[in-house]
Amino acid sequence: MKLDLLTSLYVFMLAAFIGFEVIRRVSPLLHTPLMSLTNALDAIAVVGAIILAGEFHSHGALLAKILGTIAIVAATSNIVGGFIITDRMLRMFKASGPKKP
């Protein structure tokens, strides 16, 4: 599944524009959870690491396995930790208004 370079650049450009428009609307109130959430989403790099560690390589197999495995550990810790802390933070944000019992 070869993606040509120009298509990649289009994808990047459009994603950057969407990113700017969507993130501009995030309330400054939530900028810390925003950063921890984007950090967790960014750890989608784990898919690259999984393929690197799991695929067959005719040469450099050991290097790919070692680096790929460490990379999976690093990215997974971001996914798990990032989602947990983002949710913990967001749970704390409560509106005033009718007092809860």
């Binding site: 400054p28 950090n39 989403l41 560690a53 798990v80 989602f83 947990i84 933070m89 509106a95």
Partner: protein, 464 residues
Amino acid sequence: MISTAATEHIIEITYLIATALFILSLKWLSSPATARRGVFAGEIGMLLAVVGTLLHHGIVEYKWIFIALVLGAIIGVPLGEVAMTAVPQRTALSHAFGALCVTLVGTAEFYLRAPDVPPFMMGVLSMEVILGSLTFTGSLMAAGKLQEVLPQRPITYKGQNFVNLGLLGVAVVIAGVLVAHPEKTQLFPLIVGIPLVFGVMMIIPIGGADMPTVISLLNSYAGLSAAAMGFVLDSKLLIIAGALDGASGFILSVNMSKAMNRSFSNVLFGAFGQEQVAAAGGKEARAVRSATPDEAAGILAAANKVVIVPGYGMAVAQAQHKVRELYDALTKRGIDVKFGIHPVAGRMPGHMNVLLAEADIPYDKLLEMDEINGDFPQTDVALIIGANDVTNPAARTDHSSPIFGMPILDVDKARTVMVIKRSMAAGFAGIENPLYYLDRTLMLFGDAKNFVGGIVRELGGGHE
């Protein structure tokens, strides 16, 4: 058994759905009411993408993948459970982990492909490992400074920017050579190693007050390096996630640099934390008015409208729960209490909001600088807890002040200003604050937690 081609299509579709969910995830973060749904969308997207990837036919060995996934989760859980005051260093650490992943994958990809690497591929691969490795060490340094295992004081020396930019320049030149001659594999370690050193050097001159900008900038770098990895691996999903993360970090960096009145190029070249040599000395003997907790409580009780301005000092003193009690005591008396939050209050963007939300203060009482500044002329009491430079009126009036032009909270327009402060020592930037010498200002000397506690006791009529 499904055919290889069919599986590959299924995988691509999981990626497509994951991409949509990631964008929705950020969209739902726009308001606290929908934000948790956003996290859920992100989790589902992530799960889909990871499961989809595991279906990939090219994967011949699963053992290490699963061990690594479990190990990562084991490390990730405690990192998700840190105290709210420690969120900035946790965030810096996670930028480091993200960058580590990207750098390692990029390195392996180079050695798997060399010497047969087309120029464009070599270019993005270089960008991936350069940005990745400088973000890795830079973020570790930032985390160390935030955790206070490293000195927070900026360390500067002559020619620092020259050395730093020189290092980066050398790495870029070597990357250029590799683009032309990818068979010179012996050069590759240099475009990993030099940026690793650069990352350390970049953070050395940066002081604690600049951390919000630095964290945002590292966030942006981490995103861009992941997007570059997406180009290398031909992964649209990764390009998009990286672009979103990069855009987010960029927006936050611009916000932070605006809030500190620094030009963006100043931030980009890591030249912050420079102007610490402010005119300290001078007339120490100017008179200030001070008050005791019961006097302060009396003034607060007589007010109709109170704005509390918290700074990082409040968090250091662990005073946020006492502040919540004060908020309750005043609200019970029918006094309107709001909080004015400066964008750089705390150690990372939005940090102060999280600390106050943790203390159960309703988020609709937390107002950004632009929303609250118009309110100060009608405010009876502005109570400043552990904030200094962000309230300094010299930023508006004194052209010679190092912080001139920085947007501030206009607390000096309130009828009475009360400042809880340990002593008359200058703030982070070492700048004298004329606010403290105004006739309408009362200094409340003491530890923030104890002092606020004292006010609460007085308001409660002596019992508790």
